[in-house]
């Protein structure tokens, strides 16, 4: 009887396969660290192709942000509707992804963002990136739109487009289970959307193995618009490296040293959870939709919260830090540990920003967002926007389906999350994000929309660290906290020192090889701050192309600045330098700028909400504000340092210097 069941199951599987391509799995000769192969899958035509760019391409763009922008810039027109068949979604690793050193596990998803109408990207750690590389590819470009729901299945080079009709309407966890069942691969790694992506909520994200998350820029909505439910991979062929022994040596050094680096050590214990509590004491915790810097109702510690909910920690490929927390609970809410636990951004978003003090509610909100496939940051900040509109009479209870969505009402927030994911009633309105909602509501609603370029603020207050103001304003993806290292690490008044009192800050010292030699005040937008920001933006931008985790690298964490060029060398064999790495970062930011310029962004989009030019209410930083004139001057200096003109457009010389002359030819 068993064999009959087995045969029927195999037949059913075969029927669900729409298209398969067996690709020659042999790697391009002599390549180490990467495959030299990029998959292109057209869902409209069920067509699967493999492209093999040359070595110069790989050494110029490396992966992630730069690689995605190369294709998105060339292949999308300014008229491309982000939720149409003509948009493309790219899943990208880098030339060093999967090299066994901590922090090289990340991968990106990129497309034209439905939230901003500009360049969209979102990175996550975990295992998908290395698995993609081990399956024989460095990136996947998905174009067109499938006639019915599908998922892409890649196993050791063989690529299939499979029917996902039965998975449509299911949450991320159930979908992951169904894919593992159907493929018979318990070790498959996958990017999955939930109902929010299917329903094209503009800030729908993509779950990566459920506990890692591509939250930002609405990449889940783009997948949903293509009827693409998931991308799953299984690869068993480790990549050859140019000098594996040297990589292992660096990894061993990391493993032996990370516990002596304060931030790595505490992160190992708490993830990013402790930052929520520290920021609150310091008065820098965005509270009540960024009106205040202190949330008085937090009457528990990180240890109290962990004691009640934490059941363990998880990590990413080849990383000993294991900073991903895992929460489980039965009461008052059932919390499924497969979805991990809230990190700082989620604690702050649903906690202080929405003024919900109960950590059980916050943890449930986190679980629901991951289950439905919603970005926790945009969801929380959009709900907080509605709360403030309600408080100020712009929205009524009746308009919000009778829900009393006032600050602090956790039950109401949980119900609204569900409504947003399913685009039900008022949730359908909030599914558009704060910018569009504010435009539609009119009146003073724009004052309460905490967003830049259409993307909601993460949970960092610019009036507590002025570099964040610049970061939010010029980030190519809209408000983003991962544009540069936060100011506090470089402040002469705040910063920690090495054991020798005469030495400079350990963080400044870490950045000496980049030319950062002196501390700069947090509460400043001086020319020195603009220079610091610009250099650190290059550093963080290169992370987005190389797919490096900031939680493993200097200036704040364990891995040395010098390790990055060394890892490129030991992986690919290229004689890379820090100069080359920083230029890669600059190239990524400039390419994104050119993409945005082509797609209609202007200098006027480089701003922050008016609220940040007003004094912060209450707490240790009461009265702190961004000076508008100083901000405008900082913006002007930043353009100049980037080699952009007075309108923020990359100049001809800068584009040619970065080997992006082809962008200049197009833009002119």
């Amino acid at each position: 009887m068993h064999w009959i069941v087995s045969v029927v199951r195999e037949r059913a599987k075969a029927l669900r396969t729409i298209c398969t391509r067996k690709v020659n799995y042999r790697r391009v000769n002599m390549l180490t660290g990467y495959n030299g192969k990029i998959l292109r899958i057209n869902l409209t035509e069920s067509k699967i192709d493999v492209e093999q760019p040359n070595e110069v391409f790989y050494r110029r763009y490396f992966g992630g942000r730069c690689l995605m922008l190369y294709y998105l810039y060339k292949e999308l027109s300014p008229e491309t509707n982000p939720l149409s068949e003509s948009n493309k979604v790219i899943f990208a690793a880098s030339v060093i992804t999967g090299t066994p050193y901590p922090g090289l596990s990340r991968s990106s998803i990129g497309a034209k963002s439905p939230l901003t109408g500009l360049f969209g990207e979102s990175e996550a750690g975990g295992y998908f990136g290395p698995e993609l590389k081990f399956s024989g590819y460095d990136a996947i470009i998905v174009e067109g739109k499938a006639e019915k729901p599908v998922y892409i299945w890649i196993k050791d080079g063989e690529v299939s487009i499979k029917d996902a009709t039965e998975m449509w309407g299911k949450d991320t966890g159930t979908t992951a289970d169904m894919i593992m069942e159907e493929t018979g691969e318990k070790k498959a790694r996958m990017q999955v959307i939930g109902q929010a992506g299917e329903n094209q909520v503009l800030y729908a994200g993509v779950a990566s193995d459920l506990n890692h998350y591509h939250g930002r820029c609405g990449m889940g909505a783009v997948m949903g618009s293509k009827n693409l439910k998931a991308v799953a991979v299984r690869g068993t062929k480790k990549l050859p490296l140019a000098d594996k022994a040297k990589v292992i040596e660096l990894s061993k050094w990391f493993a032996e040293n990370y516990k002596s680096v304060v931030d790595s050590n505490t992160q190992s214990r708490y993830g990013t959870n402790q930052y929520y509590f520290n920021a609150n004491v310091a008065g820098s915790l965005p509270t009540k939709n960024f009106n205040k810097g202190v949330f008085d109702e937090i009457d528990y510690t990180v240890d109290d919260m962990h004691e009640e909910l934490k059941i363990g920690s998880e990590g990413c490929f080849a990383c000993p830090v294991r900073c991903k927390q895992v929460f489980e609970s039965e009461k008052p809410y059932k919390i499924d540990p497969r979805y991990g636990a809230p990190e700082y951004e989620t604690l702050g978003g649903f906690g202080s920003v929405c003024m919900i003090s109960d950590f059980h509610v916050i943890s449930k909100a986190h679980e629901l967002c991951n289950r439905y496939g919603l970005d926790t940051i945009s969801t929380a900040v959009t709900i907080a926007f509605a709360m403030e509109c309600y408080e100020n009479g712009i929205l009524t209870k009746e308009q919000m389906d009778g829900i009393d969505l006032k600050f602090g009402n956790g039950e109401a927030a949980l119900e609204m999350i569900r409504k947003i994911a399913f685009r039900e009633g008022f949730g359908d309105f909030l599914a558009q994000g704060t910018k569009i909602c504010a435009e539609k509501l009119g009146k003073d609603a724009g004052k309460y929309a905490m967003q830049v370029k259409g993307q909601e603020h993460p949970i960092a207050e610019p009036r507590a660290k002025y570099g964040i103001a610049l970061a939010y304003a010029v980030s190519p993806t809209g408000s983003d906290h991962l544009q540069h290292e936060h100011d506090g690490a470089f402040d002469p008044n705040l910063t920690g020192y090495s054991h020798d009192a005469d030495e400079t800050s350990v963080f400044v010292k870490a950045c000496n090889p980049m030319g950062i030699l002196e501390p700069v005040e947090s509460l400043s937008l001086s020319p020195k701050k603009v220079k610091l920001f610009t250099y650190l933006q290059h550093w963080f931008s290169c992370f987005n192309s190389l797919e490096v985790c900031i939680f493993t690298m200097e200036p704040v964490r364990t891995g040395k600045v010098s390790h990055l060029p060394e890892l490129i060398k030991f992986s690919t064999g290229w004689d890379a330098s820090l100069w080359e790495v920083l230029k890669l970062g600059e190239r990524g930011t400039t390419m994104a700028r050119a993409f945005n310029y082509k797609h209609g962004a202007t200098k006027e989009d480089d701003t922050i909400p008016d609220r940040h030019f007003e004094e912060l209410e209450g707490g240790p930083l009461q009265g702190s504000k961004i000076d508008r004139e100083e901000f405008e001057k900082a913006l002007e200096l930043y353009y100049q340092m980037m080699g952009w003109d007075e309108n923020g457009q990359p100049t001809e010389g800068k584009l040619y210097e970065l080997d992006l002359g082809w962008m200049h030819e197009d833009l002119k």
Partner: protein, 101 residues
């Protein structure tokens, strides 16, 4: 005059006072106590310098931290030229800075 003499004069001139220092987050683990007392100048900038030196030399603190005086951010007080003279029973709080993304 020997070093001791200079120190006595320094104390007399600078009007040293005793204030409480409260630690938060991982700083408690680094220092080993939640609270301690310190003798400092009544001038804010000099008091901060003394605190920093003690945190380095006595407690080997390497975390980045914000210093609050009676719940106010001292960097903001200095930036706005509002440093107050410290008084007995005043309180410094040292709070780990949120950095690293």
């Amino acid at each position: 005059m020997d070093a001791r003499g200079f120190k006595i004069i320094y104390i007399l001139v600078q009007n040293m006072i005793t204030i409480t220092v409260k630690a938060y987050g991982q700083l408690i683990m680094e220092i080993g106590v939640e609270e301690f007392e310190i003798k400092v100048s009544s001038k804010l900038v000099m008091a901060i310098e003394t605190l920093k030196q003690q945190l380095i030399n006595k407690y080997n603190v390497v975390s980045a931290y914000t210093i609050l005086l009676n719940g106010k951010n001292t960097s903001l007080l200095i930036k706005n030229s509002q440093p107050e003279d410290l008084k007995e029973m005043d309180e410094f709080s040292i709070v780990p800075v949120v950095i690293g993304g």
